[in-house]
């Protein structure tokens, strides 16, 4: 299956990614290969296999309810912080 530049741009927009035009051709080719691989997976006969949620065997380990203190205010890593909070573009009218 081929992937055109328009589809790539839409996917990038959905993923909130900004793609450098110089890189788009390489990315488009790589993604085409990924789609092709997915095509192979879907072609496998799975009618007799029950659906699974995870490729690994095993169960979810559980964590004891034991809180660990947070000493570092991670908002300091944000592009912009104010009053110990992360500053983001306004999201309400």
């Amino acid at each position: 299956m081929s992937l055109d530049n328009e589809q790539l741009a839409r996917l990038a927009s959905l993923a909130r990614l900004e793609i450098d035009p110089a890189e788009s051709e390489r990315l488009r080719t790589e993604m085409e290969k990924m789609v092709e691989l997915a095509g192979k997976v879907t072609a496998a006969a799975t009618d007799s296999s029950p659906p699974i949620a995870h490729v690994q065997q095993g169960d979810q380990p559980l964590r004891p309810d034991d809180p660990q203190p947070v000493t570092d205010n991670l908002s300091r890593l944000a592009a912009e912080a104010d009053a110990d909070m992360v500053v983001v573009p306004r999201v309400v009218e």
Binding site: R16, A53, H54, V55, Q56, G58, D59, Q60, P61, L62, R63, P64, D65, D66, P67, Q68, P69, V70, N73, L74, S75, L77, D82, A83, D84, M85, V86, V87, V88, P89, R90, V91, V92
Partner: protein
């Protein structure tokens, strides 16, 4: 036609914040913190390379709820990613459960005054909460605090079985009581520990197909639930009667105007692109674990209320008051166990003790007068060492001093005077000093008996056994004839 010509059909999704100490998938503390972002670690911030691990206590609490509502507990359930872009969700997805939730089915019985009805549950699933945004601090900006991000939630989804705003609020109250009783949620509505999303549609008759519904999100009080439904139903009725159709949409309730307004419609509804979370393996709960949790379940509120009626002969109203909260019920059970008269215990716990708790802003469990101390006082009332009236004063002193009743009774010489000879002596003096009243009494003014009893009470500092005093006074006055 008006709104009352339509039948409301209501289903409710309830978000219950589980009372764990740590978060759902991270080890950050779940306790409230005023300082922004100091209860949020790398996982809550959605940092790359972090891995979520589910909290055992949250899973146990979900099972406890499932057992309480007689639901099916899934021995295998799955966590899924629910994707949406919003700055309150740093990972870009919320970990939730989709196709295979932990709790399936179940039934909640609601008793609202004379109305008793059952609400079927569709499911209940575990998920994590989002962060909190503040919009009014910086022009053109919003500020994100991730302390709430990752707190464990149990989302309880009902079938559309509710038929009025009042029923919906009663369902909410029943759920609120149940999750507090099970000690899986602190029930603090103002802090958002319990939030309701309400789906409302209208139709004419029970047999009609369901109408198009609108969802009103994020209601955090029973009053708002009731108001939002009433207003939304009136809005829908007006549109339908004008020949218009309802657009399926999500709406917000404006608590100031009391109206709902559109938030987003189905056309631009989000595709959440659910898929099983590759970071989390399937959640398996074996039968032994379920059985262990079942054995640790408390008696449920309805059973407790019925037991008070059957075992202690309490009225349905009193039984309801005493089983309103688990702490109160435990306190009452302890008093009733130690006190010879369960009805006396019921009256004192539901009356004086609760009044003292309310005025001191405390609960029976934390009251300075313990259940054993109150039972001690009630035993002295039951054996007539002190009167009920004196008991109230002694209780107030116990509350202040935390001393047992017997110590106060003995220390202050408050024992009731039940010695007939002593009481006769007191009455004889009063009769002698008040010949005019004696004459009037004997002439038929029998209400003057109260005068003699009152004088004798005054003379004994309120310590005379009132019943005995009454009988003696009557006999002595009658004998004067």
């Amino acid at each position: 036609m008006a709104v009352q010509d339509w039948q409301m059909v209501i289903g409710i999704e309830t978000h219950v914040q589980l009372a764990t100490r740590a978060k759902m998938f991270s080890s950050a503390p779940a306790a409230w913190c005023e300082q922004p972002n100091l209860q949020a670690n790398e996982l809550d911030f959605g940092m790359p390379g972090t891995l979520p691990v589910a909290n055992q206590a949250a899973v146990d609490m979900a099972v406890r709820f499932g057992l309480a509502v007689d639901a099916r507990i899934a021995t295998v359930s799955e966590f899924a990613r629910k994707h949406y872009f919003y700055p309150d969700l740093p990972k870009g997805y919320q970990i939730s459960q989709f196709e295979h939730p932990i709790i399936n089915g179940g039934l909640i019985t609601v008793a609202d005054d004379d109305d008793q009805f059952a609400v079927r549950l569709v499911r209940a699933h575990l998920e994590e909460d989002a962060g909190k945004l503040t919009h009014d601090m910086r022009p053109g900006k919003s500020l994100a605090d991730y302390n709430r991000a990752g707190l464990p939630l149990l989302e309880i989804v009902s079938e559309p079985d509710l038929r009025s705003a009042r029923q919906a609020a009663a369902y909410g109250r029943t759920l609120h009581k149940l999750v507090r009783w099970l000690q899986i949620c602190d029930g603090n509505m103002q802090e958002g520990s319990l939030r309701f999303d309400v789906n409302v549609s209208l139709r004419h008759n029970e047999s009609d197909p369901l109408g198009t519904r609108c969802e009103i999100k994020n209601l955090n009080s029973f009053r708002f639930v009731e108001q939002a439904i009433e207003n939304e139903a009136a809005r829908q009725a007006q549109l339908l009667e004008a020949g218009e159709s309802i657009i399926q949409q999500t709406r917000l309730f404006d608590t100031t105007s009391g109206q709902t307004r559109a938030m987003r419609s189905k056309e631009d509804a989000q595709d959440y692109r659910y898929f099983p979370d590759p970071d989390l393996l399937p959640l398996r709960i074996d039968e032994q674990t379920i059985e262990k949790i079942r054995r640790g379940m408390p008696e449920l509120p309805d059973a407790c209320r019925q037991r008070y009626i059957d075992q202690y002969g309490l009225s349905p109203y009193d039984a309801g008051v005493l089983s309103a909260e688990r702490g109160l019920a435990t306190y009452f059970d302890e008093v009733a166990r130690q006190c010879p008269d369960a009805k006396l215990a019921a009256n004192w716990v539901a009356g004086d003790l609760l009044a003292l708790c309310n005025s001191a802003g405390t609960t029976p469990a934390k009251a300075p007068v313990t259940a054993a101390m109150l039972a001690g006082l009630l035993s002295r009332i039951a054996d007539q060492t002190v009167s009920g009236k004196m008991g109230k004063e002694i209780l107030a002193k116990m509350w202040q001093s935390q001393k047992p009743a017997d110590e106060i009774i003995e220390g202050e010489g408050l024992s009731q005077i039940s010695d007939a000879g002593q009481l006769q002596e007191v009455l004889a003096t009063i009769i002698e000093k008040n010949p005019k009243q004696v004459q009037q009494y004997q002439a038929g003014k029998h209400k003057l008996l109260g005068f003699f009893v009152g004088q004798a009470m005054k003379e004994t500092g309120g310590q005379a056994n009132p019943q005995q005093l009454n009988e003696l006074a009557k006999r002595m006055l009658d004998e004067q004839k």
